[in-house]
Amino acid sequence: MTAMIDVTDAKKTFTMHLQGGIELPVVSGVTFHVDPGECVVLSGPSGAGKSSILKMIFGNYRCDSGRIGIRHRGAVIDLASAEPRQVLNVRRSTIGYVSQFLRAVPRVATIDVVAEPLIVNGIGRPDAQARAGELLHRLNIPERLWQLPPATFSGGEQQRVNIARGFISDLPILLLDEPTASLDAANRSVVVELVAEKKRQGVAMVAIVHDDEIRHLIADRIVDVTSFAAAA
């Protein structure tokens, strides 16, 4: 098996204890795989569970049952049953997550926010900042903003900082949660290019994209999430 991600029969239900314990089935029987260099797009209407599946693959949501197989440092690890320390290691060296929203850390300069994933993996600060600068440049964040913390930036600027931070790494798996949601056409096409570059580097990606045009441009395969609708 050479897949980077191999999800088998994964199931997720929320039990809302504060609402009298109602069960909210989210998805069940989730089964698909992603090969290196491939971008799989999850499709389905809002509420179908696309983001939940992405969060299950990242270890952010726990699975009720099933398996989330991730190829990590040459071996396969099941994130659904991994220890917290293993999940952190997988996130550090294998899986990156690009969400729609930047969780801004107060006082850290934009250039360092973007460079941090490289520094954490042992790349020197000057090199990391140089690569961060390149990406910020491509994503049209003017250089005069690089030394400022992104907390006061506009929504679109913050999102582009977040994309730069997500794409800077050399991680073999990337999860993209609406990376182009509030971007203009020029920046959307930069993201499309970045995805294409990652494919050439053999990165396996799972994406959620609402824009039909972008979806056609980046998707190698589409997985319809409605087929995983959990029986209520």
Binding site: F14, T15, M16, H17, L18, K55, G59, N60, Y61, R62, P84, R85, V87, L88, N89, R91, R92, V105, P106, R107, V108, E116, I119, V120
Partner: protein, 265 residues
Amino acid sequence: MADQDLLDNDEPLLVAKSLSKSFGRIAACRDVSFSLYPGEVLAIVGESGSGKSTLLQLLSGQLAASAGHVSYRMRDGVARDLATLGEAERRFLFRTDWGFVHQDPAQGLRMAVSAGANVGERLMAVGWNHYGRIRDTASDWLTRVEIDTARIDDAPRTYSGGMRQRLQIARNLVTEPRLVFMDEPTGGLDVSVQARLLDLLRSLVAELHLAVIIVTHDLAVARLLSHRVMVMKGGRVIETGLTDQVLDDPREPYTQLLVSSILPP
């Protein structure tokens, strides 16, 4: 949280096994077990009276457990049961390899002596005796915690609350401990002062590769600083896991209540 150099080391630093503590008929802490690894930040969350501060005192050997034990891997690599350490050994551990950051800085500082002496005292306790070097190191640490070195000769009672807390942190970290206990370190501070302190703690913890056990009732603090959380209620650990997992996908009714009680800013 930055995961710098995180967790490739497979030997835990501290192991708690079935820790319990009763005060008369009241069980303050019941059957708590976990392992903490070098560089790992563990948050203990729960409301007042949930037993989290008692647990911190048990873990740091300040309170004797009614049952169970805590072992700590000393600098020589040997794990020792804290209950078997002599008083002198325990004090030495507290002065060197451990730090303890109290919610009230007055508890962790000597309020009437200078800031420099507050930091230098820890160094003298581990055998430093060159005045110039002690002062240089103290001054260096004041800078690291963003205190103007012009204030080095002032006593902390002339400092603001936020400065006192940063001084307490400098005093604790100057001996390069491997484990720091923190009891509500941002409690009682203004929000803006809190943010600055959190940001400082976050970078120091990553830079120094510290293991931290932090007690807090503030889930935002737990999210920003910790890798893992334990949720306590009625003296028991009712839920534990990766911090973002527990906060984004809480399972237990009480954890769901805690998470849903946060007011969005």
